[in-house]
């Protein structure tokens, strides 16, 4: 079975973004970009399915700027066999990405699509579920374990208060949570090998999809700043202050 994983190029986890002075967005010029961490977990999960013989081919798909090819190269270095870039410089919102991914899925006919549960830039957490609905496929979000057997996926999900296990009829959508796996360290030989793997570049217009944003961003501002408080010398002072000043205990 073919497996597709979707990967997004985002501002690196360690970068603290700044809001632009004109409040039009955040300034991402000259900041380090990386693969969304949850997507890395998705690529690792797909690669492991191939390594245990459950998947025959792993295709990494990204939607966005030309530079997303770098993100696809990272996916290929982890273990994806080939890449597809849906290239556009439009501001992509989750619904547009889901429509583009649906078009790729219809072309490639995978049995499983694995995505990160959330991108750490827009924090929307929608794409996997949107894609599942557009395809009328079942979904398992926030996965911490995935087992594939006889046309079904048995998935353990991280839910409020604990875990939940559900079974999905394939083809299906899975979105990854933190503990699904620990992505491997990408070695130099695998990076070299990844350079030789093919990346196909397509455009939204090839699928007849208009990727324009539908939600209008009116402004983007800094959050209210929380003022630092006081340092206390010892436990007794702390308890005293919590009782008499903050009155919370």
């Amino acid at each position: 079975m073919k497996v597709i994983t979707a990967v997004k190029r985002v501002v690196d986890y360690n970068v603290k973004v700044r809001v632009k002075a004109d409040e039009s967005g955040v300034d991402i010029g000259n900041v380090k970009m990386s693969m969304n961490p949850f997507d890395e977990i998705a690529v690792e999960a797909a690669t492991r399915l191939k390594e245990v013989g459950k998947a025959t081919e792993v295709i990494a798909v990204s939607c966005g700027l030309t530079q997303s090819q770098e993100t696809l190269r990272t996916a290929l270095a982890i273990g994806a066999d080939r890449g597809v870039l849906v290239e556009t410089d439009a501001e992509l919102q989750p619904l547009a990405v889901a429509k583009l991914l649906k078009a790729v899925v219809e072309k490639e006919q995978p049995q499983l699509v694995i995505l990160g549960k959330q991108a750490i830039d827009d924090d929307a957490g929608q794409t996997g579920q949107l894609l599942a609905a557009l395809l009328d496929w079942p979904q398992a979000t926030f996965a911490s374990n995935v087992e594939i057997n006889d046309g079904t996926a048995t998935v353990t999900r991280e839910v409020d208060g604990g875990l939940e296990v559900i079974s999905l009829r394939l083809p299906a959508i899975v979105t990854t949570d933190l503990r699904l796996n620990e992505p491997r360290y990408v070695t130099l030989p695998s990076i070299m090998k990844a350079k030789k793997k093919p990346i196909e570049v397509v455009k939204p217009s090839d699928f007849g999809i208009d990727p324009s944003p539908r939600l209008k961003t009116l402004k983007v501002v800094e959050p209210p700043v929380r003022k630092a408080g006081v340092m206390v010398p010892d436990v007794a002072t702390l308890v005293e202050k919590l009782k008499t000043e903050a009155k919370v205990i």
Binding site: K16, Q126, Q129, V220, G229, A236
Partner: protein, 309 residues
């Protein structure tokens, strides 16, 4: 103009996230209907009907809703959607799971994790782990929204007397099957609803040491949380994680123990009323948001603090 709030419930009771979501819906100066889709969920529907500000409760009772499978719940919401201008879900694991399936079928751009409602079509939401707040405007006919529950005070659970109407259930999708749930039973309050949260970080050093938070939490009637670093290190279960990709909490008192304060963690707790930080590193960023900071060895501070309460 009417808003449909999708209740989160366990068939017997509605969860507090539902009360916060109803409160958000009431800000829209519109009617508020609550959908309770469950199995044997009459008690939950009755509880919803008593919430202040609810105009009508729609109960859909069928076995295929027993476990909240997203495919079935979304299909049920879609069967009712045409009567509504807004559909609100709590931004909890269950709400986040289901809402986009509804949005996709309505061809609507979902607005996730709303923290403020400016008008019928304009909402504020955090992006980049809360390092920026975006104001977004939707032109969709039906606005599908998930509500960050900590940003809205809970609606009163008593005082209302809405009618309960039953609606026919959509068929089971047959796409997915619930197998089992492993939910930790605890006498402690739920993390997102607790008045006090005691959270531990990598500074605790081990799973065994993490249990040192228990006596303090016990004394304060607190829920226990964890930083991503502590979860990653296996000290605490994932559903205790507070932060950008975990739970968002805003208790009256948040005590961060051995947590350095990465921006991703701060995103999950900086709206707490009072923040206490205990860390051996005086330069830890957590002190930048703490109301009371104590530099010290947590293995000495924790027992002393527990003792003195």
């Amino acid at each position: 103009m009417t808003t449909l709030v999708i209740a989160e419930h366990n068939n017997a009771q509605i969860k507090s996230s539902t009360l916060h979501t109803i409160a958000a819906a009431k800000q829209l100066a519109s009617g508020v209907h609550v959908l309770v889709a469950g199995s044997g969920a009459q008690p939950a529907a009755e509880a919803a009907s008593k919430v202040e500000g609810v105009d009508k409760v729609i109960l859909v009772d069928a076995p295929q809703f027993a476990d909240g499978l997203a495919e079935n719940v979304a299909a049920q919401v879609l069967a009712l959607a045409s009567s509504y201008s807004h559909i609100f879900f709590p931004a909890t694991a269950a709400g986040k799971n289901t809402a986009p399936r509804v949005a996709a079928k309505l061809d609507a751009s979902q607005i996730s994790d709303v923290i403020a409602i400016e008008s019928d079509d304009t909402f504020q939401r955090p992006v980049y782990a809360g390092n920026a707040i975006a104001t977004v405007q939707s032109s969709d006919a039906v606005k599908v929204v998930t509500i960050r529950t900590t940003a809205f005070d809970a609606a009163r659970a008593e005082g209302g007397s809405a009618a309960i109407e039953t609606a026919p259930a959509v068929a089971d999708s047959g796409l997915s099957t619930f197998i089992r749930r492993e939910v930790a039973t605890s006498d402690r309050p739920e993390l997102t609803a607790a008045r006090v949260v005691v959270s531990g970080g990598r500074g605790l050093g081990s799973k065994e040491n993490f249990a040192l938070l228990d006596p303090l939490a016990e004394k304060l009637g607190a829920a226990v949380g964890a930083s991503r670093a502590a979860v990653d290190s296996g000290y605490a279960p994932n559903d205790w994680q507070v932060g950008q990709t975990g739970k968002i909490v805003a208790p009256e008192l948040y005590i961060a123990v051995g947590i350095s304060g990465a921006i991703q963690h701060l995103a999950g707790m900086k709206d707490s009323k009072v923040i206490v930080a205990v860390n051996k590193d005086a330069d830890a960023p957590i002190f930048g948001v703490a109301d009371y900071g104590l530099v010290g060895d947590l293995f000495e501070v924790l027992p002393a603090l527990t003792q003195s309460l």
